[in-house]
């Protein structure tokens, strides 16, 4: 349960964005994440979940070209974002020192549709501290990566474009716990019963 933008108390629909879909155990993760969502009072939408019957139409491919396939998958994920209330993004470094770009695009989509935005990351220390690559220092003291690109210094683990995200240190379940706590506090403050985690 949560209080939605219109003040209605209902189950929050959450889009589960991340790199989990790229791994061979994605199907197991999908099941595990759904079970965790149920436990903490969310309706989860994993990218690979089938589209439910609603107003968001799936993309119809014109041909079998790569771009048409990409548009079909993009629209599928986009629709999941449109039909949800919040995003929970895995913004861990992926193949280097940046989050997965697809997940990052989805964060921008969700923010643009006015969703409440949450993320989880293994190490939530500021970027300058958590950065795993080789660091260099400019004459003026600015800390950069080995190529001379400045490591942002805003006390955030991520690029400042994610400043509207509430970031939880830990895994997906840690994020669900943290969001549940926030939603329950909002419910109690408005005089409603909190959701009881079994």
């Amino acid at each position: 349960m949560f209080i939605d933008k219109n003040g209605v108390v209902r189950m929050p629909k959450a889009y589960l964005a991340g790199t989990e879909i790229f791994y061979p155990d994605s199907k197991e993760t999908q099941k595990k994440y759904h079970a965790l969502c149920e436990k903490y009072g969310f309706i989860g939408f994993y990218p690979e979940d089938e589209a439910p019957e609603d107003e968001y139409a799936e993309y119809v491919k014109k041909d079998d070209s790569l771009h048409e396939m990409e548009m079909q998958l993009f629209t599928h994920d986009l629709n999941h974002i449109k039909r949800t209330d919040i995003i929970i993004a895995n913004l861990n470094d992926y193949r280097g020192n940046e989050p997965d770009s697809g997940t990052a695009v989805e964060c921008g989509l969700a923010w643009g549709y006015g969703h409440r935005c949450f993320a989880f990351i293994d190490d939530a220390r500021p970027m300058k501290e958590r950065f795993k690559g080789v660091k260099k220092v400019r004459e003026d003291g600015t800390v950069t990566d080995k190529d001379g690109a400045k490591l942002e210094d805003f006390d955030s683990p991520l690029n400042l474009m994610f400043c509207d995200f509430t970031i939880f240190e830990g895994n997906f379940e840690d994020a669900l716990k943290g969001i549940r706590k926030i939603f329950n506090e909002e419910l109690i403050a408005a005089g409603y019963q909190p959701f009881e985690v079994k």
Partner: protein, 177 residues
């Protein structure tokens, strides 16, 4: 509408020591091809002056708000989606592409190498039909970048100038003498 189409210039250039110089060059190219450019690396009348005296979080929020305002004002985004610090483009740039999409902006991404991700990757790859996977088991998408970018954005091989040339063509603009 009598104004020139406005380009939001997205990318990690601002992190480099010559970031302002790179922004000026991109702005000049916008002008050359008939656009007005906005670079988040440069001051702009639509943006607030960043006040660093109120703490880092406040400054980050101000920069974020400015960038959102710039994107709202633009007609198209031209984004540098080259790999940054590894095998993914800059996360902030990707966020901006996603947001710009929700506002109905036209999206362009440029990259020096548009071969499929698995061909560009330097590291072990394994074929597991129909995908190539890295040593951690993560598969590579078939395109030049993640499909959440190459779906909604036109991917141009080359530089900012190559992308803006294509955009000028799409917008029916003439190159200035």
């Amino acid at each position: 509408m009598n104004r020139k189409p406005v380009v939001y210039i997205a990318g990690p250039e601002c992190f480099y020591e010559n970031g302002v110089q790179l922004a000026k060059e991109a702005l000049a190219l916008c002008e050359k091809y008939g656009f007005e450019g906005i670079s988040p690396a440069m001051g702009h009348p639509l943006g607030d002056e960043i006040d660093f005296s109120k703490g880092k979080a406040h400054a980050a929020r101000q920069i974020f708000n400015n960038n959102i305002r710039f994107i709202n004002h633009c007609d198209l985004v031209i984004a540098n989606v080259n790999n940054f610090r590894g095998w993914e483009p800059d996360g902030g740039t990707c966020f901006e592409l996603g947001y710009a999409y929700t506002q109905g902006k036209k999206l362009y991404g440029f990259m020096a190498d548009t071969r499929p991700c698995y061909e560009k990757y330097i590291g072990n790859i394994h074929y597991d039909a129909p995908f190539w996977r890295d040593d951690n088991g993560a598969f590579f998408e078939s395109g030049a970048c993640n499909l959440m970018i190459s779906g909604p954005a036109q991917i141009i091989r080359g530089t900012f100038e190559d992308a803006i040339k294509k955009a000028a063509k799409d917008f029916g603009l003439q190159e200035a003498e």
